[in-house]
């Protein structure tokens, strides 16, 4: 098992850990902002997974330079996908925060259990 191999697993495992940490915050926290933070960590983990798979040994960022032959490029497609996913993430987040602001105005709290009690 080479070092790179280990690092490869390590990447996936970090993905798994961050994913679970994020999801844990989403499920277990009652503070709505904390939930959203958890959600954004959760989504970031997925970005890491996609980007991990694009790496090619000895490759560089996929920008073709004229006149240079036999370059090895990392896979561009996951990068494109994740660019889109990042945008989706921030959009969801801002929408969620707007809701939290309104909830705070209407209920005077952003703790989930207190909101449930209020109704």
């Amino acid at each position: 098992m080479t070092f790179l191999e280990l690092l490869g697993y390590f990447n996936y495992w970090v993905f798994a850990i961050i994913l679970t940490v994020g999801l844990y915050a989403v499920i277990n926290k009652t503070n709505l902002i904390k939930k959203l933070i958890g959600l954004s960590i959760f989504q970031s983990a997925v970005f890491l997974m996609y980007i991990t798979m694009d790496k090619v040994e000895g490759g560089t960022a996929p920008i073709i330079q004229k006149g240079v032959e036999d370059q090895i490029f990392s896979n561009p497609l996951p990068q494109v996908l994740i660019l889109t996913a990042i945008v989706v993430g921030v959009s969801t987040l801002s929408l969620g925060l707007a809701m939290v602001v309104r909830i705070s105005e209407c209920y005077g709290t952003i703790e989930e259990n207190e909101i449930l009690d209020a109704d």
Partner: protein, 496 residues
């Protein structure tokens, strides 16, 4: 420009590009008119597409002129055409009726944004359905989800906000799970195109990631589709959304996620993974049965009319899944048919509720006394759609229940047990629908109420029309039936 070949793209692009324009239509009523016109046009496109694929062929469209799997492809077959009809039909019908109800619930200044979001939901949902690319489905899923959060957040009650926040959380987790699943499959096959995935997935030797991907995709989409027990966001979201939004979303939103689920399982996994059918059935069937029974039971004891119907929706999702879990021609066509018929019945019911809500502020059952005398047409439409939901013969709901029972009988010795479950849950539907009917017809009016009259004609006409369609498609279901049958054939072919 040959319009016909561009239909799949136009189906998505027309509502999508209209959405920004709607934002600019500030003068009163104009945004509604614009959005309605666009929705009706979308429906016309869906009808044209349905006609084109009625004979079982598939229309492909290469976005940007790039061939699949390099570019993003759209594809429309009988199954997608059926779902497209449901989505655009629901959007158009709800919008046609929406104006009085929306004027009552949403401030005029915010209406252009609201209608714009409505069109975005529409384009997102149709975008999912026509897409043949796993990642593209994710993008459009997000458009439709974000926009539907907006629509639901328009509910006048403050409880809409926590409800929609919960929906946002669960919806995002669902979409992210889906994204993980797609990523894993992409990692193992190197492609995002669904058909290409199907072709290449058989060559994958290291199967673990694919299995985990199947799990992630199924659970993620089940979250979005409100499959029991991942349905917890549904009751509050449907209850506190603006009434017309409930009509639209209840008719089609969760079904689109189911559509993707079915697509994925049949087109990509089925037949390529060993014993996937059995695992799928073992996983889905118990959930479907539990969902049917428990959600129906919950509905029997609900006191709020919208919440009751929302619980019933969860049970109906169970029916669709049950048919899918049979992995048979009969089961699949029953499910496809039920997607169509349930949209008709539930859309009609929620339209009638919107009519009631126009006059009644409080929609709890014990507050609805005297409705039948004040709003006879609304109540009549409610009864007809309710019968369709129960599955009384002569209504659309009966057709799909009959097909589902027929499919259950084909499954062998367990068939009669499944039939018993379907029939028991139909009886439960009788109970919960009849509780509403009694409240509408035989409950003494609340004292001190001002005399009230029918809902506005616009709202009422659409409601009546949908009620009549429930009867029409109960007697002449040939068109959806044909689509459902060729959809089932296509799916099974894809799984082989």
């Amino acid at each position: 420009m040959d319009l016909l070949t561009h239909l799949p793209a136009l189906q998505v692009v027309v509502p999508m590009l209209s959405a920004p324009l709607i934002v600019l239509l500030q003068p009163r009523g104009l945004a509604w008119a614009g959005a309605t016109a666009v929705a009706v046009l979308s429906f016309a496109i869906a009808v044209a597409l349905a006609i084109a694929v009625l004979d079982g062929q598939t229309i492909e469209y290469a976005m940007g002129g790039w061939p699949a799997p390099y570019g993003i492809a759209l594809s429309v077959d009988a199954f997608s055409a059926l779902v497209l009809l449901v989505i655009t039909g629901a959007a158009a019908a709800a919008l046609l009726a929406a104006k009085p109800s929306i004027d009552q619930q949403i401030e005029v200044e915010r209406q252009p944004l609201f209608y714009s979001a409505w069109l975005l939901v529409l384009s997102g949902l149709v975008g999912i359905v026509v897409s043949a690319d796993a990642f593209n489905i994710f993008v459009f899923m997000e458009i439709s989800s974000l926009a539907s959060y907006i629509l639901i957040a328009g509910g006048p009650n403050r409880r809409a906000l926590p409800a929609v926040f919960k929906y946002l959380m669960m919806g995002t987790i669902g979409a992210t799970f889906y994204l993980i699943g797609v990523g894993l499959i992409y990692m193992m096959t190197g492609t995002l195109n669904l058909a290409d995935m199907e072709a290449r997935i058989g060559d994958v030797t290291d199967i673990n990631p694919i299995l985990v991907a199947a799990g992630f995709i199924t659970i993620g989409l089940a979250l979005k589709a409100a499959v029991f027990p991942l349905h917890v966001w549904v009751p509050n979201a449907y209850t506190h959304a603006p009434h017309m939004v409930t009509v639209f979303l209840a008719a089609c939103a969760t079904k689109v996620a189911l559509y993707v689920l079915i697509r994925f399982d049949y087109m990509v996994f089925q037949g390529k993974l060993d014993d996937h059918e059995i695992q799928f059935a073992m996983f889905v069937m118990p959930l479907a049965i539990l969902g049917i029974l428990i959600a129906s039971a919950v509905a029997m004891f609900e006191g709020h009319i919208k919440r009751l119907l929302a619980s019933s929706s969860i049970a109906q999702i169970g029916y669709i899944l049950l048919g899918v879990s049979f992995v048979s021609m009969a089961g699949l066509s029953a499910s496809a048919m039920h997607i169509f018929n349930h949209a008709l019945a539930k859309g009609g019911l929620f339209l009638a509720v919107a009519c009631l809500a126009y006059r009644y502020r409080d929609l709890r059952l014990n507050q609805l006394g005297g409705a039948s005398a004040r709003m006879p047409w609304t109540c009549a439409a409610f009864v007809v759609c309710g019968l369709s939901l129960i599955g009384v013969p002569g209504t659309a709901g009966f057709i799909s229940k009959w097909m589902l029972i027929g499919a259950a009988l084909e499954t062998g010795p367990w068939g009669w047990g499944l039939v018993a479950i379907i029939l028991i849950s139909s009886l439960m539907a009788v109970v919960y629908i009849w509780r509403i009917v009694e409240a509408l017809y035989f409950q003494a009016p609340i004292e001190g109420d001002a005399p009230m009259s029918e809902a506005p004609v616009q709202l009422l006409l659409v409601t009546g029309l949908v009620a009549l369609m429930n009867i029409y498609f109960g007697l002449f279901p040939h068109v959806p039936l044909e689509l459902a049958n060729s959809a089932a054939a296509l799916l099974l072919e894809g799984s082989r």
